[in-house]
Amino acid sequence: MSDLTKLTIAEARDALRKGDTTSVELTEACLAQIEGAGALGAFVHKTPEIALEQATAADARIKGGDAPAMCGIPVGIKDLFCTKGVPSQAASGILEGFKPEYESTVTQNLFDAGTVMLGKLNMDEFAMGSSNETSVYGNAVNPWRRGNEDTALTPGGSSGGSASAVAADLCLAATGTDTGGSIRQPAAFTGIVGLKPTYGRCSRWGVVAFASSLDQAGPMTKSVRDAAIMLGAMAGHDPKDSTSADIAVPDFEALLTGDIKGKKIGIPAEYRMDGMPEEIEKLWHDGAEMLKSAGAEIVDISLPHTKYALPAYYVIAPAEASSNLARYDGVRYGHRARLAQGDGITEMYEKTRAEGFGHEVQRRVMIGTYVLSAGFYDAYYNRARKVRALIKKDFEDVFAQGIDAILTPATPSAAFGLGEMAEADPVQMYLNDVFTVTVNLAGLPGISVPAGTDKQGLPLGLQLIGRPWEEGDLLNSAYALEQAAGFVSKPEKWW
């Protein structure tokens, strides 16, 4: 078979079961693509020995019949997931040399299903960023380019390496994590599908924590069907994560009928931002028309507190981060600064964290420290948590009106150039999350589906937001949108 690495998970599964290819062949094809794709900066730790060992085992299992859908499928794993014996650094200098003695629940679930790990993928440091420019490994690069230009574009962030690797066919799919849009924004920037599940659907155990009340792992794939298949393998109750929900994981793929007749799709007025590019506005309008043609009812809705989601997020996420990142103290793992004569433990902490954390992480830890400090806790942190409750209620109100899913743009623009935001205020970069962050604050599932291109040929995505725990229904709406949009473009290979 040619172009093995271009296969979707569903196609590869069917080919493996028919005996048209083997997991070892698929894996070797991916490893060869990865070897030739250094310019993308996507894979930062390669694990070919583990991959081939897992592929061999998967082939034996497939031969034996009744292998699960993910069996033998080669994927990339975001560096945020702890993988036993394999460097897991969250793209931070402070975790230099860290090799976990344990496996994250999500990767263990994938391995139990027979999935093959090709290596670890680039990301923003501690998942803090929207462009993959805060990584200690250097930038990940988008395989897409503007027209005939050779300007290097961001794949988005924080799951930039995952997005770049999937879009460039270095692997069949990848894991991502999403705290404010880190799966959906990079998926939109690279023309792939990215799903953030309901908070609690995937275990957070063994995933390096950024903001624990917002973090969720999810799949980044080439199709909606693949997202359904891969989510099924990642999800499930885990006693090691007390916020992991003890509810059944349905067969998401079986729910993909493409029939959305009578579904009510909400269009929130507040997502129409001033200065929104005309192309995004048109894409959004076209997306609504497509769902309408497929039999859905389009309903204008209001989510009145939308405007306050970003400022609330940038209080809550740094507050939780400052607490979570307190563990990087130079004692238990990772980097410890070289100390001067007479330095005590406080100097050790302060020098270690100054050397180990990058600029954006330091800034967020300090913001978080400030908003949690005595005298400001009520004014910032408690107020933000109250606003968060109101944002969640906005969604509950429209779902109570019978809305099944909400359609919005995934991002306010197409991928921008690496370095283009360097001089901008940090708040400008934060605006990338404007359409995605509400979903994390409300704990809802959200999916980004590639739906078109801009004038320069760059992919654009639409987001669908679903009811809690109804990823199956959400995926089905996304499937209908995917069918109607018919996005098939691929980046031209330059790397």
């Binding site: 040399g97 860290f98 090799k99 976990p100 003695e101 609690g200 009340s213 006693p239 007390s242 916020t243 929900a245 003890d246 507190h305 405007k307 306050y308 970003l310 400022p311 609330a312 940038y314 307190a326 004692v331 238990r332 793992y333 990772g334 980097h335 410890r336 330095d343 005590g344 433990i345 406080t346 100097e347 050790m348 902490y349 302060e350 020098k351 964290r353 100054a354 954390f357 330091q362 800034r363 830890v365 300090m366 913001i367 978080g368 420290t369 400030y370 908003v371 400090s373 910032y380 107020r383 933000a384 948590r385 109250k386 606003v387 968060r388 409750a389 109101l390 969640k392 940090p426 704990g443």
Partner: protein
């Protein structure tokens, strides 16, 4: 809310991050800008609203209060920058 240099120095110390004296003015400016952005939250009427504690209403599971894991100090210490005789080693804490 504007952050002055003294506040920036205090926050950096609370966060246990060494910041050079000459970098404090820029840091104070950055933190002030972000806090100004957050001040939009003051426009929202939050009277009578409870701060969110859990995004998904769920009752935390309970289990028997027994040891379920452990007994492998060598694994715990394997990633330590400085471990000696089964302990983490740090600079002298008590004079």
């Amino acid at each position: 809310m504007s952050i002055d240099i003294d506040t920036a120095r205090r926050v950096a110390h609370l966060a246990r991050i060494a910041v050079k004296e000459e970098d404090l003015p820029a840091l104070a400016g950055e933190l002030s800008n972000i806090l100004t952005f957050m001040e939009q939250l003051n426009e929202v009427d939050v009277d009578g609203v409870e701060p969110m504690t859990s995004v998904t209403p769920m009752r935390l599971k309970r289990r028997e209060d027994v040891v379920t894991d452990g007994g492998y100090p060598e694994k715990i210490l394997s990633n330590a920058p400085d471990a000696r005789e089964g302990f983490f080693a740090v600079p002298k804490v008590v004079e």
